[in-house]
Symmetry: C3
Subunit: 482 residues, 3 copies
């Protein structure tokens, strides 16, 4: 039936090509919106005095990631890097061949790169929430470059590339572990290394007294909740790209569909292909909607039981926790399971927040509770949960074990990266003599800005700008002169 099949295949393949590439491009744009979302979430959720510094970090890290992921990260992800050759030699990567009998419709390489860049930028930015308010900007940008060029790509390669060691061993649909677990635990490492902001948990109380600035504020309180809330909506919106786009991130294998079966019922065969193509996609979209809704109920219930005040920041982080939770399993969960994952993710978030508070680890925006704790929990526990609840115990153990390994890798690699950044900052400080790098005695390490800079706020100290002149207190501060 040569001619017929040929003409059939051409049009089919073209249609599938077109569909998945358009969806993945639009998904990439939606994910890129998450950069704006994180920027607003963190800026609004932090003190006014560091607003511009937060914008700076979130904006420039996307640019750093754009360059470094393009040149170093993406080749690792696709297996075209010297590093992957070395990993193959060392046994950390396989060499597989595509043995699919039918045509696999793949993404355009540039669109795939754009989509994966957006993932990498998200993963880097997750950390920024945990270290914000006291990290030296250059140290953070160095971390972002290493994370974009090396750490995230190696993990993503290992889990998602067919040559990766964990490919087919664990299931992580859109990155509860690979993106959120990794990023959240890296943020935890940063938060521990940096120690709390001055004033949190009574940390640095002495410094507050000795460095009291005229007109400066020691408040670390969130300064602009509405913009923070808008950021959460951006993240939710972007997550539709994150999850839905991931349906096609690996292309689409036409061989799974029996083309000859209903050859004489053209609409049935088109329907079958379409349902396979879009059906899973639709399920992902619904799961991505139900899980955050359920997680908000979960956090709301916690507030009802324990207190009569309803902190909006925690409710919104609850929605993000639900989104992180469903990310590993959005392709397999049925709607009731998505709701269950959402409820449990909200609970895990609350527990993690209390843990962080008790452990006196200062994670200003809740990057670890939202992304790290929930990512590990949901990626480890629920990534395998399908509609009929067939949880094989061995496979479950494997998932949990490797999930924890990924998070541990994120934690340790961030520790090393921040340590190197700290040493580099020290060297630069010795080499340079500018005011910016003249840190003075630091309580712990060279990752942090000076107590003076922290107390006065990095906006005025490092950027020479005031984020708002609404009070009319600082006219002209925002002008640059040449």
């Amino acid at each position: 039936m040569g001619g017929d099949l040929a003409s059939y295949d051409r049009s089919l393949i073209f249609g599938v090509y077109s569909t998945i590439n358009v969806i993945v491009f639009m998904s990439g744009v939606l994910i890129f919106m998450m950069q704006a979302g994180f920027m607003m979430l963190e800026t609004g959720g932090m003190s006014r005095k560091n607003a511009i510094n937060n914008i700076f970090k979130n904006f420039v890290d996307a640019c750093v990631c754009g360059i470094f992921f393009y040149w170093f990260g993406y080749p690792i992800l696709t297996g075209d890097s010297i590093l992957v050759d070395w990993m193959r030699e060392m046994g950390f990567a396989h060499t597989t061949e595509n043995t699919s009998p039918g045509p696999i419709v793949t993404l355009n390489d540039d669109i795939s790169l754009f989509f994966n860049f957006a993932f990498a930028a998200t993963c880097v930015t997750i950390c920024s929430g945990a270290v914000t308010g006291r990290i030296a900007p250059y140290a953070y940008l160095f971390f972002g470059a290493v994370f974009s060029a090396l750490i995230y790509p190696v993990v993503a390669f290992t889990v998602w590339n067919p040559d990766g060691m964990l490919y087919g061993v664990i299931h992580d649909f859109a990155g509860s572990l690979v993106v959120h677990g990794l990023g959240g635990f890296a943020g935890l490492a940063g938060a521990i290394m940096l120690r709390p902001r001055i004033g949190e948990f009574n940390f640095g109380r002495g410094q507050i007294d000795s460095y009291r600035f005229a007109g400066s504020s020691i408040s670390n309180a969130a300064h602009n909740i509405p913009i923070s809330a808008l950021g959460v909506f951006f993240l939710w919106i972007g997550w539709y790209g994150f999850n839905a786009g991931s349906t096609f991130a690996a292309g689409f294998d036409l061989s799974e569909i029996d083309l000859s079966a209903t050859q004489d019922q053209p609409d049935m065969i088109a329907n079958a292909i379409f349902e396979q193509l879009i059906g899973g996609f639709g399920q992902v979209v619904i799961n991505t909607t139900l899980a955050p809704c359920a997680a908000v109920f979960s956090v709301l219930a916690f507030f009802m039981v324990t207190q009569n005040k309803y902190n909006i920041s925690d409710l919104m982080n609850g929605a993000l926790a639900g989104l992180v939770g469903i990310t590993a399993n959005a392709d397999a969960a049925t709607a009731p399971i998505a709701v269950l994952i959402g409820v449990l993710s909200g609970a895990v978030y609350v527990i993690a927040v209390i843990f962080m508070f008790r452990a006196k680890i200062d994670d200003p925006i809740g990057a670890f509770p939202v992304h790290g704790a929930v990512g590990l929990f949901a990626g480890g526990m629920f990534a395998l949960t399908t509609g009929d609840m067939e949880l094989g115990p061995i496979v479950f153990g494997t998932q949990m074990f490797y999930g924890a390994m990924i998070c541990m890798f994120g934690f340790l690699s961030a520790l090393v990266t921040f340590w190197v950044a700290s040493r580099l900052m020290y060297v630069i400080k010795k080499l340079g003599n500018s005011q910016y790098f003249d840190y003075g005695p630091m309580p712990r390490n060279h990752l942090r800005v000076t107590p003076e800079q922290e107390l006065a706020g990095m906006d005025l100290e490092l950027h020479g700008q005031d984020a708002y002149s609404i009070n009319l207190t600082a006219p002209g501060k925002a002008k640059t002169t040449f």
Copy 2:
């Protein structure tokens, strides 16, 4: 010509499937952005002291809608609910069969669910603008649940489902009546039942004097116009999804196209199918652009004639009025008619605002003037206007009559729902003894927060947060302690 036709149909059906599902998914995402738009519009347009409460309402109602629409609303909409069976028994619904001779390309069920969820969430949120600033949060969430699960789905089923009583009787393309009329009149009911905020129309002047808080403000003025303006842009952007996506909400009937006619001119037949598929879609997009532009001119002209101050909030609401106005007829109107509808919608908005002011009904964001008044006007008057202005008088009367019925249904069902909510709040208050529910003597009903809470602002009283610490007046207020 079996084989040829078969191969032709397969590819065609697949292509149409793919096109409409991708567009409807992206439209769903755009409509979901409207949640962020309403949040910003209302938060920025209200007083600072209730900013977080506004965010809470707009954020949590989307989550409530997600859960309740999924479980109860959508089955009603698709006719798979016990309620619809009962409606059929009672004669409020038909039982029709699909008798289309050709293949109808339908949406993926999950994508249709997502798209309709976004509609339902919009309809619920419309009400929130009218009741904001004094409604007890739980009463509002109860209302949102009932509206998502029952009221909106029943109306949408009746108008849009082929089994619905009004299907084919009236024309409402994307919901000037079903979404905006219904929601706007429900908001009107809420605004009347709740009575004005303290301080509006000199309402509760005595209470202001007796409950003067140190440092609190009685101002109800809009506190952040820029974020409000951004919200309006989000709504406009989301409306492209609202209207354009609705082109394919019911799928696409291939039988309308004569496939055999130009069998030997392949590009012409593809062109014909495509123009039928996308042609109406493009027209919708243009109408959705022209109507709000024209409505802004209309409001601007009103300001020119009556005063020399140009209130940006009214101009932006004018654009929304134009969008509401074109929603019923975006598929049929030609461009000049879209402009006409826009101009008239702007005028109706202005008249409705003046009416609300004179009637002393406090609708803080203008939900009724924008959605209710314009929705009824445009849905009743213009939904049938086609390019050649064939307005049948009987059909026009039918449209107007049922349009008014839908709005009346929204008004009455909201009255009942809010009354039940009020009773429930009373019961809960009697059962509980927490500070939150201890309302004290209420001027009218249990829907409202206490005068103390209203005057001090719900942000501090109910959420324990201050939306901004830009003034540095309330350091540390935003922290939750465990």
Copy 3:
């Protein structure tokens, strides 16, 4: 092979139709988001006292453009206008015929109109940044109408319509010259004609002393950097629509693909068509990502060398400069060239900012440095740069010459338009006697609001609103009474 080819062509043509129209529609929505982006960028980057006026200008100009571009501009662009007939008579336009041997898949006319409207609105809005803070709102709206109806369409017709004189002579992919150069130079003309805001470059120092208002501020400082930063993200996001959508703005010529070559390898031929369709698209997306990232590095390096403060506004404008720079060449540049263009665009931006500062031209948001200077530079220098760096000197000279002509046309036509607006404002002022138009003695022209209005802020003077009541200083100011 008639039947086969026929069936092949139908499905192919339909698929291509569908793909390009969906992409262009979504791109149009993304570009429309840039209106919100410009609004936020300008509002946040200007003084608080003119926040509402900025919103007014940016919002209403989009509406003006919607109406005027629809009725006058788009017919010019497509060559269906009397003006184009006159241009043909005068020799400023050709009359060509479509001689393509194969089917050209064109955009749906309404979707093309929507897409081009979004372009026109962007071009108009670019100017607003340069003239903001002192221009009389009506003068600006008059300018916007003329620009939408006449100036932009004529230039876009000349470069992009096959009948245009410069079609095929110069290469401007998505409008570095046609949109950004034109708009930026028009803004420069406006900034020069209007002279600086009072207080900038010590301009009008005497007036400040004589018109000191109680409680008013002379500060021109940026008042809300976070919202400004969000605006930049919106612009970046919108640029994906701007550039990627432009890939298909002229439709798609199927004749470029040899359909018969691999007739028996259906997936290869589908692949070939697809790669031709989406391949260039993907390249555009990557270039649009890399150039702004690189430009930010460029501006960051400048700050490192010259000072130790990192002005976030300049970094963000740097990203926009990179985006403007790649716009002319996004279809042809390879990734390394995109990075190079980004780096150089950032440098050109910095040089232009310094030039403007030294020349004492007050361009509050940097419209000329970002759009004008970089647009001319990149459109003139780099639009022809392809992967293999084949820069023919003559062609390069042609590109540079006509690029400069386009910018000069923008500058001169804006001069004339603003002059006419100034005369019109004078006439209206004489005719009317309202407070709004009673300008009093003006230092230079009738384009400007009065010094009193400028010093007190246009928000209170012209709009009767205060953008924020966060300070609780002006309760009730935002209410309109009837």
